[in-house]
Symmetry: C2
Subunit: 213 residues, 2 copies
């Protein structure tokens, strides 16, 4: 998002009731923000583009968010919650063997990227790459999201160890960190190349690495 001098009309405490605002305006802003910011960078996008995509007037934005920084932090939280639920859906799917759950997550992510013509990537990866231009408050929040995803992934890898799919002596936490380091790189390349090849190449290598352990 470009630097803007943000008015700050919001009072402390609960937002005041405003009958001109339909219910769900905050959610509409977050949804539009997620759609725009998985595609473009925070620095490149103005609040006007979010408002226009959400069909919400500017005054309403500052009714719900004190600043573009506060909006960005709320977007990270919303994306983290959405993504944690997605990971759990795949990683706790007892109908699949643990490694198949990881592959199913990757295939689902690939289909999701293809659906949007490989224009949309990962909000948290995008923001992480942009960190040099973002408010410092974003850093710990973004890193915390990766730590959370890594923990969920490590649990799935430990289940694969318990099921005898991969050797039990591998360090599941370290492998999960490796996964997220490389997966974010693969999402970046898939966007650049407008192709799923990078996702497939990374997963093939990661699976070979797991099977080695």
């Amino acid at each position: 998002m470009r630097a803007e001098t943000a008015p700050n009309p919001r009072k402390r405490g609960r937002p005041r009731k405003d009958p001109s605002l339909p219910d769900g305006t905050r959610e509409r802003l977050l949804r539009a923000g997620l759609a725009v910011l998985t595609e473009k960078g925070f620095s490149a996008v103005g609040i006007e583009e979010i408002l226009s995509a959400a069909g919400v007037p500017k005054g309403s934005f500052y009714h719900y968010f004190e600043s573009k920084e506060a909006f960005g932090l709320a977007l990270i939280d919303a994306y983290a919650a959405y993504f944690a639920a997605k990971l759990d859906r795949w990683f706790f799917d007892e109908s699949l063997a643990p490694l198949e759950r990881l592959k199913a997550f990757a295939a689902d992510a690939e289909a999701g990227m293809a659906k949007f013509g490989f224009r949309r990537g990962c909000l948290v990866g995008n923001l992480g790459q942009e960190m040099g231009s973002l408010p410092e408050s974003f850093r710990a929040r973004i890193a915390g999201v990766f730590t959370d995803w890594e923990a969920r992934t490590a649990a799935c890898l430990r289940a694969a160890q318990a099921a005898g799919e991969i050797a039990p002596e591998g360090d599941a936490e370290r492998l999960a960190r490796h996964f997220w380091i490389g997966w974010e790189g693969a999402v970046l390349r898939a966007k650049l190349d407008q192709s799923s090849a990078a996702l497939e190449i990374f997963m093939e290598g990661f699976m070979a690495l797991l099977e080695r352990k």
Copy 2:
């Protein structure tokens, strides 16, 4: 870089001589651009910041570059040339075994990131991540740089195969693509975490993958 209405005072053909411009102004602009844009995104940075870092007046910028898009493309070319020379220096270092060359490149990159407090990453990775906001002309240029790096890396991996360091049946091109997908992810995380841990975790896994092949 923010959208700007760029004047275009440059004439076709060779830049006219301007005695007020010291020699090397174009190089100074490119050097300043590389320093700023390995740290921040293209969308987040205005030309003014480059000019100020280079100590060059605005008129001179448009003397050398038709537009910010032309400047961005020249930056990609300059970074590609700089980086290709760096890769060759490491990958053709006959005093080291081929896999040691790859490790030495990674250790050198890690030291380079540490030197700048993990604020500077990879220009091409940064721009790739930002592609959704960049002129479409950047896409093929950035992808071409990765293809070049992958070819140089594959040659090093084939040397490792010839030297018997890794099994000869592995697909060196595919492994080189895997390397650059994951390495760019690792550079992103190293910047976010302000730590070399991601670089080390990715290299450890990649080496384990190579030794498996």
